[in-house]
Each structure stands twice: as structure tokens, then as C-alpha cells.
């Protein structure tokens, strides 16, 4: 086809685009994914039995705060990586993990030696990262759907950022079901689940996000 003819056809199709169209696409993928993931958590694991009492203590909120902070940073990165020419900044990325490491250290030093293994491994370290990866999958699928409608010029990096965001969202949802309360446990095993999802995201993004 002649380029001029193509231009005519594209110009004839110049429907207005809302300024917020890209943000809406991302929000839709993220929202639907998170909804499915939350439903899966309720059906599969269920909310922890002691929610009412646990809510009084800070460890309950620590898990939500950490995963939410990671999710917000990853969301910012995904939003920029979805737009050609927008630079991804890397200023805040390690802040939540750094805060968790510090908190874990304080808790570690304040605990008798005999309980250290319990701080680190809890009762669920063998299942925790895998459950997070599993609960992240619906969110990741939603984000892939969104990103394919946008324009990530670095597919692997965008896939990794989407993976981290999905992992953090999955971990946030899992926090409703998880009864662990040690900072070290969250810093290690939650992070492991999020990082695994990020790695998976990079691998999948490499080929799934081409356009």
C-alpha cells in the first residue's frame, strides 16, 4: 500500500483519545486482576482466623505497608515504561526493602537467640513465596493485557516491573491470609515471592510484550 493512502486512512480514523486513556487501561488490568486474585485467596486459603485480634498489633499492618509501598513504586515504573520516551527513575526503589531490613535487624537483636530461627522461618516459609506467586498471577495477567494495549519499548524491563507490581499486589492480598508476624520473615519470604514474580515477568515480557 502507498504510504499516502495509509495516512489518509489513519487520519480518517482520528477518533478523540482521552488524556487519561493510558492510565485507565492500566487501572482496569490491575483492578480486574486484583479482584480475581482476592477471590482466589478467599476461596483457596481464606482470611486468617485471628484477624480480629491480630489487627490490634503492628505486625498485621507492617505486611500491608511494605507490600503497598513496593506496589506503588512498581506502579510508577510500569506507568512510565508503558510510554515510549518516558524515563524510568530509580530513586525510591530500595527504600521499602531497606526499611524492612532495618526493622528485621532491630527485632532480631531484641529477641533471644533461641527464637531466631522462628523469626526467620515462621511456620509457613515453605509455602509463603509460592502462594504469593500464585496469587500474583491474575494481577500479572491483567497487567499484561494492559501493557499490550500500551507501548512498552523495553519489553523485558516492563515485564519485570509488571511482575514486581503483580507480586506486591499478590503479597498484599496474601497478607490477609498469612498469620506470620516477624519482620525478618516478611523481608525474606514476601520479598522472595515478589522477586520471583518479577523474574517471571521479565521472561514472559520479553516475548509477550512485543508490538
Amino acid at each position: 500500500m502507498k504510504t499516502d493512502a495509509l495516512i489518509e486512512r489513519l487520519a480518517a480514523d482520528a477518533a478523540p483519545v482521552r488524556r487519561s486513556a493510558a492510565a485507565r487501561t492500566l487501572a482496569l488490568g490491575l483492578g480486574v486482576g486484583a479482584f480475581v486474585s482476592a477471590a482466589a485467596m478467599l476461596a483457596w486459603i481464606g482470611i486468617r482466623a485471628d484477624s480480629a485480634t491480630a489487627m490490634a498489633g503492628w505486625p498485621y499492618w507492617m505486611k500491608f505497608a511494605y507490600t503497598l509501598a513496593v506496589a506503588l513504586i512498581a506502579l510508577g515504573a510500569v506507568e512510565r515504561l508503558a510510554r515510549p520516551g518516558a524515563r524510568a527513575r530509580a530513586a525510591w526503589q530500595s527504600l521499602p526493602l531497606g526499611a524492612m531490613a532495618l526493622g528485621a535487624l532491630v527485632q532480631w537483636l531484641a529477641t533471644p537467640d533461641a527464637e531466631h530461627m522462628h523469626l526467620l522461618l515462621g511456620v509457613s516459609h515453605t509455602v509463603c513465596p509460592w502462594r504469593i506467586v500464585a496469587l500474583a498471577m491474575p494481577v500479572f495477567a491483567g497487567l499484561l493485557w494492559s501493557l499490550r494495549r500500551l507501548a512498552p519499548t523495553r519489553p523485558a524491563v516492563a515485564g519485570a516491573a509488571a511482575g514486581v507490581l503483580a507480586g506486591a499486589a499478590g503479597a498484599w492480598i496474601y497478607a490477609f491470609a498469612c498469620a506470620e508476624s516477624s519482620v525478618a520473615f516478611v523481608a525474606v519470604w514476601y520479598t522472595a515471592g515478589i522477586a520471583l514474580t518479577g523474574l517471571l515477568g521479565a521472561l514472559i515480557g520479553r516475548w509477550a510484550l512485543r508490538w
Binding site: 500500500m1 515510549p84 518516558a86 500500551l150 507501548a151
Partner: protein
């Protein structure tokens, strides 16, 4: 692009036509076969159309356009399994490309400048773009040196305000 996003077909057609010749030069410089270049021009125009929602009006249009053009070029190399090796005699054309990218940035600048009154526009062009000293610019325009300084300062201030307000 902004007019095009609001559904102005005529402005959009003009933009696409300008981009087409621009992209043709961009790809012709980087590809041996001109048929490939034309394919890529069309592919990139389609991508610009389909992905136009990802253009953020707060960011420079040229950066957005370039990222898409470069992505399509890399995609082309990946598909055709060519390595981007560069014979030494082509090095000059790479240097020339750098100049083209600067020229595109200059296009953004020119559009902003167009909104200034002519005298002030010329002052900024002399002092900031052509690199004349204040004294040289004063001699050229017949103004006093302090008038040149004030004119440049106010002009830049207006430009900065326009960028902040997203007038482009």
C-alpha cells in the same frame, strides 16, 4: 498531536504526512534497502496511530516519537536477524544522525519561540542558539547591552512559563 488526539482529522493528516517524510529519512539512513525503510515508515505510522494514547502531553513529543521509531527499527533488525555492524565509512552518517536528532529538538524549540514577539525571539536566537555574546547581539540589533540582557531574560522566562503550562 494534541489537536489530533482531540479528533481533528485535518491536523492529524498534516502531522502524519510530516512524520512520514521525517521517518523516511530516519530509516533510509539506517537501512540498506529502501523498500524496508518504506515498510518501517508505514509500520511506525500505524504504531503511532494505534498507540497514540500513550503520548503524555506533559512530555516532549520528539522523545515519544523517537522511542517508537527506534523500537520499530530494533524490532526490524531482530526479525530480519541482522546484526547492526557499521563499516567505518558509515561513521560519518552516524554523526550526521546525531545532528538530526538535535534538529528535531530544535523543532520543538522553534515552535515555542514562534509564540514570542519577533524582537525578543531574535534576541534569544542570537544569544542562546547562535552563541553570540551580549555585546555582539547588541551591535547586531542596535539595542543597548542591558536591553539585550533584559530582553533575553524576559523571553526565557516566558518560554519557561509556556513549557510549564504545557503550551505546545
Amino acid at each position: 498531536m494534541l489537536a489530533a488526539s482531540q479528533g481533528d482529522g485535518a491536523a492529524y493528516r498534516a502531522l502524519l504526512a510530516a512524520l512520514a517524510s521525517h521517518l523516511r529519512a530516519y530509516y533510509a539512513r539506517r537501512l540498506a534497502r529502501s523498500a524496508d525503510a518504506e515498510d518501517l515508515v508505514q509500520e511506525t505510522l500505524i504504531a503511532i496511530h494505534v498507540k497514540r494514547a500513550t503520548y503524555d502531553p506533559a512530555l516532549p513529543f520528539t522523545a515519544w516519537l523517537h522511542a517508537i521509531a527506534r523500537y520499530k527499527l530494533i524490532d526490524h533488525f531482530r526479525r530480519s536477524r541482522l546484526r547492526r555492524t557499521l563499516p567505518l565509512e558509515d561513521a560519518a552518517s552516524v554523526v550526521a544522525e546525531e545532528r538530526t536528532e538535535a534538529a528535531e529538538a530544535a523543532r520543538d524549540v522553534e515552535r515555542l519561540l514562534a509564540a514570542l514577539p519577533e524582537a525578543r525571539r531574535n534576541l534569544i536566537r542570537h544569544v542562546k542558539l547562535e552563541g553570540l555574546s551580549t555585546a555582539e547581539a547588541a551591535a547586531k540589533t542596535g539595542l543597548s547591552e542591558s536591553a539585550v540582557k533584559v530582553g533575553v531574560h524576559r523571553g526565557l522566562k516566558k518560554l519557561a512559563r509556556m513549557i510549564r503550562e504545557g503550551t505546545r
